[in-house]
Amino acid sequence: MASFKSENLTILGANIHLRRAGKGPPLLFLHGAGGVNVWFPFYEKLAESFELIVPDHPGFGQSDTPAWLRNIGDAAFYYLELIAALKLAKPHVVGTSLGGWIAAEAAVRDCAPFGRMTLVAPAGLRVAGVPAGDPFIWSHEEHTRALYHDQGFAERALAAPVSPELADIQIKNRYAFARLAWQPRLYNPDLERWLHRIKVPVQIVWGNDDKLIPVAYAQAWLKQLPKARLLPIANCGHLPHVERPDEVANAVKSFAREAAP
């Protein structure tokens, strides 16, 4: 089922692990705080139409935790370096949750290397009066349940066996997540002031039953990115690409087709 190829490369002195699958125009997928522990059907669907590249962020999964990784800005600059190092030509960047936040932080710094962007329930902004969930205080079970609308996904995730290697990676991911997102909790108060610098077309996907980052946050993104398109997904939680892989993959594909001359 693992129809991807793993490779390792060194960027900014750090050993980075990434997966490649499929052929077509480049698509860079930036994962959320949980990392890439399962090769979801979503990736397979993207690989049908794109050259899909799925790195482990620095600090996550099988990538190193470099000393220079101190905050979200470091992760953002790193991805500008990665796009250059891989010589990706205007990749479509798809980022979910933490990955969406990193994508936006990178794009406000320099969006020239980006093609289009699909942000799936991105972290990074705050909405006064609409508290986000707190994944750092939740238990593993609470956190898992809060990620999904359909609790069947949560049940299966909770029941899945955890190998010692995966258990280690889960701890590592949690530490890296805290490094980037502990304070302020899941946002950067400066980000919204600079979102207007993102000049490439943006599509925002959000589950309407997101218990981690409520769908009301989508409006904050639209306010700063008035040309962005919002795709709300009914009966769906924080991980639309897991709960609704077809819908989200099709949205990415049709959004990408609009770019074609």
């Binding site: 750092f136 205080i137 258990a167 701890i171 949690r174 490094r179 502990w182 909790r185």
Partner: protein, 394 residues
Amino acid sequence: MKFYAFHLMPYRHLDMAEAAKYRSYWSVLPNRLYDPAVGAELYQEYIDQLMMAATLGFDGVCVNEHHQTAYGLMPAPNLIASILIDRTRGMKTKIPIIGRALPLLNNPLVVAEEYAMLDNLSHGRIVAGFVRGIGVEYHSSGVNPIYSHERFHEAHDLIIRAWTEPGPFEYEGEHYNFRYVNTWPRTVQRPHPPVWIPSQGSAETIDWASAPERKYPFIITFSPMDSVLRFHDLYKQAARQQGYEASGEQLGWAVPVYVAETDEIAIREATPHIEALFNNFLHMPLEMVLPPGYTSIKSMKAILATKKGMTTAKQTMKDILEKGTFVVGSPATVRERIEQAHAKSGLKVMVPMIQFGTLPDQNVKKSLELFAKEVLPKVRGLGEGAGRVRTAAE
């Protein structure tokens, strides 16, 4: 041996049934459960208890810092220290502040300044405790626990320099940067007030505290007796590896203590209150006790493997007695526990917590009186005039 009475100042009138509805007694416990009319009286009660200890001849009285919790009502321990300093004017009583939580501060120079003020106000009677704060305080302060160790070490170094180097000078660090460091007032104790490191114990902290340039007393807190002895041994080994023999003054033990007429009475009277300490006030899930980075990934894996860090499991008096996390009994029993601990580790710093959990005022006073009259005179002389520290292996 020296004896320093210690208090957490818990909100002992907490509605436990109501509090039990929440995730923890820390950070998320609604502060509507605190009644200021009740709390204001508690401060007086607790200050009087510490003053009673000072008057009865304890070598010192200690305060400490905790935030957003019914477990301890001293988010600003220096305020209480200041009162104790004034009320012990003319006495020799030491005032250890056993622990300002350095990493939680964005400006550690306030600790250099406040401790220097207290050192002046007390004519050199303070002990400067430095801690990292407990894990949940990274939730209450917002400080990123990933940087807990870095901030602790940097803040410590900055404060020591602020006390010992002529100011003004410039400080450039990773977490802290100051164009002007210039501590007014200077400390009375030179080169600086004695530093204590209270800790639940880690090899890393022990190596650091025992380094020859520091030789900071290591006060192991609220731990089972075998851990107390193990960490004291680790400290002694670390000192030896660094070329010197640790003295008993570098080995401390902070532990709740209760004395009554007989073992049976002591255990009966203390049981609900010590259980409230361990099962209620200290109740919190792993995510609050050990946020990411508070411990190394390696320690975190070990803890998860054994579930050792879980404070959710209820402890009965029997468990507590078996582990030796509580010193309780008749004066003879309590004396014996102290003698044994001293004989095994050579420790010469004991920090009895005189009130714990929901323990009422009259019990605190009775226990204090018995301790001061029937225990203290017999254990004071332990280790005084003795040679080097013995090790458990000897």
